[in-house]
Amino acid sequence: MYEADLRATAGQTMAGRVGAGANTRLPELYRTMRRIRTFEERVGELFVRGQSAGSMLHLSIGEESAAAGVCAHLRDGDSFTTHHRGHGIFLARGADPARMMAEIGGKEAGYCHGKGGSMHIADMGLGHLGANAIVGGGIPAVVGAGLSARHHKTGAVSVAFFGDGATGQGILYESMNMAALWGLPCVFVCINNQYGMGTNIAQATANPNLHERAAAFGLAAETVDGLDVEAVAEAAERLVEGARAGKPAFLAVSCYRFYGHARKDKSPYRDPVEEEAGRRQDPVAFARAALIDRGLESESELDRLDTEIGSEMDATIDFTVAQTEPPLASMFRDVYAPEEPEPEPVRARIDRVLARD
């Protein structure tokens, strides 16, 4: 019965999609994806301008459909964690790109006051429980969030976003097993961009049909082609709503990492022919073409939108450059709760020790 329900929902959405009518969400999905694409391009510029905090900047260009498609089905009160390549997901969930960029620049005005940076952005207001620099590190938190949702009967889901590389980490299976065992409202979204640094997924596992693992643990599990954001959104709707109803899920979104692993990596380990083909799997361009094809938007309307987004994102750089670094004293803040004493600085301790006579 439960499965039947899901199929019914799925069927409806499909129908909605095929008819290129008013109820398509493609324009909105396109806009989200374009904002992500442009934001990431600007992150690259921030780096080139020497204004980023470090070079550990992981761009999600080519993966926009995963962020847009899944986040389209999240609601207020839902929560999520991301991996180190999580800018797009957070933007899709409603982040302020200026505060994001400021965080990436290590500035006081950033989401985490410059303590976190690109790999540790979080925002409790939007349910972002945190990006993570540990591959797989943020996954089990969604099990805990699922327990909270069950306990407080909030109807919220919690989504873990991670890369194909994280399927090497045992904690993923421990977490999926718990979610399935307890029927928690958890969704595991694997953004399979084919690479973990220089390692192709086929060099990391004998069976790259990643969803089969999740199925073996008892989750609803699918793989979807990330070229088509509508397909991602449909699968996400099915699985997210299933999870809300107590059937945790796994979704692998197949896509391609357009550029290097981090800003300095030129991917010398990849075949240029493969790269070219990979970059043709462009969900932003694909959606754009579909909008025009289906007569939902004209080329010039889209150009205007793209320009508008360009300006919005340009402003994030100007904003960031104008911001200040966090004050040195803030270093001792937030180790413990505000009502607790701060750790004593080493210099103060030494002063005390040597002031004895």
Partner: protein, 331 residues
């Protein structure tokens, strides 16, 4: 005021039960905490009282247990995760040290991780190298983690109750050899402040700083010493983070001699921190170097004889104090 005769185990159990009654957001999760009642019986029957959604039996997945507790703590629960043995902390150090300990900081103070990780450690049950360790130093060396290690029945109760009100992650390490220890306690008594050491005995000749089971060995040694005319002050630090150094300082400055006693292995352990700190802060008052009495720098054997030989006992503590005060004692 109602005095009760309680075991350490039952005091812990009562702390959990009282906290769960008071705060509906307290949940327990871990291996065998429910139907089985805990490997050492601490959570016995709590599942009957509070149900399986608050006393959650998990698969054998330590990393995800701690990780799930982190997520739960960030979203409105007050989880008490249980690690059956502190020896398993090695599998969970990423979730504990990279996630729980750093989340508040990395995220610029947006949120804390108010969880308690209960576990137990130490020797005494011939449990071998992987079930007998004292690994509190890993925790003490990790900024962001609070660390409590009760030595008495009253502290078992009060420290655990307090841990369950703290805004930051608390690692709470019990000692496996203390579960059956009985004491008469007043659970309604005003507990000492969280983060305040307990002076368990006062004496003019030297200060012994310790915690957890070694407290009892130190007190036993102090009685032996007393019979030989040496009076030791024995300080139970109770919480290793926060550490109440003021109490230690006051007594060391008064007596001029300090010994630190810990069951964990000596090198780079808690005893090293205490020794370094005492030297830094009380140097001009010290007549002797601070002496460390700690676990041998070796793994623990299953053989009972070797196991007992691997960690300090009352004899070694007393002998060491006697040597420190050799000038004062009639030979």
């Amino acid at each position: 005021m109602a005095l009760q005769e309680l075991t350490y185990r039952d005091a812990l159990r009562k702390a959990l039960a009282d906290a769960m009654t008071e705060n509906p957001d307290v949940v327990i999760l871990g291996e065998e905490v429910g139907r089985y009642g805990g490997a050492y019986g601490v959570t016995k029957d709590l599942i009957k009282e509070f149900g399986a959604e608050r006393v959650i039996d998990t698969p054998i997945s330590e990393p995800a247990i701690v990780g799930a507790a982190v997520g739960a703590a960030m979203t409105g629960l007050r989880p008490v995760a249980e690690l059956m043995y502190v020896d398993f902390i090695g599998m969970t150090m990423d979730q504990l040290a990279n996630q729980a300990a750093k989340i508040r900081y990395m995220f610029g103070g947006q949120i804390g991780v108010p969880m308690v990780l209960r576990t137990q450690g130490g020797t005494g049950r011939s449990a071998g190298a992987q079930h007998s360790q004292s690994l509190e130093a890993y925790v003490m060396h990790t900024p962001g983690l609070r660390l409590a290690m009760p030595a008495t029945v009253a502290d078992a109760y009060h420290l655990l109750r307090m841990a369950l009100t703290k805004p930051d992650p608390v690692v709470f390490i019990e000692h496996k050899a203390l579960y059956t220890m009985k004491e008469s306690v007043d659970l309604d008594a005003e507990p000492l402040d969280w983060g305040k050491a307990a002076v368990r005995r006062e004496g003019r000749d030297l200060v012994i700083v310790t915690y957890s089971r070694q407290l009892h060995y130190c007190l036993e040694a102090a009685r032996t010493l007393s019979a030989r005319g040496i009076e030791a002050t024995v300080i139970d630090i109770r919480t290793l983070n926060p550490l109440d150094f003021d109490t230690i300082r006051a007594h060391v400055e008064r007596t001029g001699r300090a010994m630190v006693v810990s069951e964990g292995v000596m090198t780079a352990g808690v005893a090293a921190e205490l020794s370094a700190r005492i030297t830094e802060e009380c140097f001009d008052f010290l007549e002797d170097p601070v002496v460390r009495v700690a676990g041998e720098d070796i793994p623990i054997s299953v053989s009972t004889a070797l196991e007992a030989g691997s960690v300090p006992g009352p004899q070694l503590i007393a002998d060491t104090a006697l040597r420190m005060l050799a000038g004062r004692v009639p030979a």
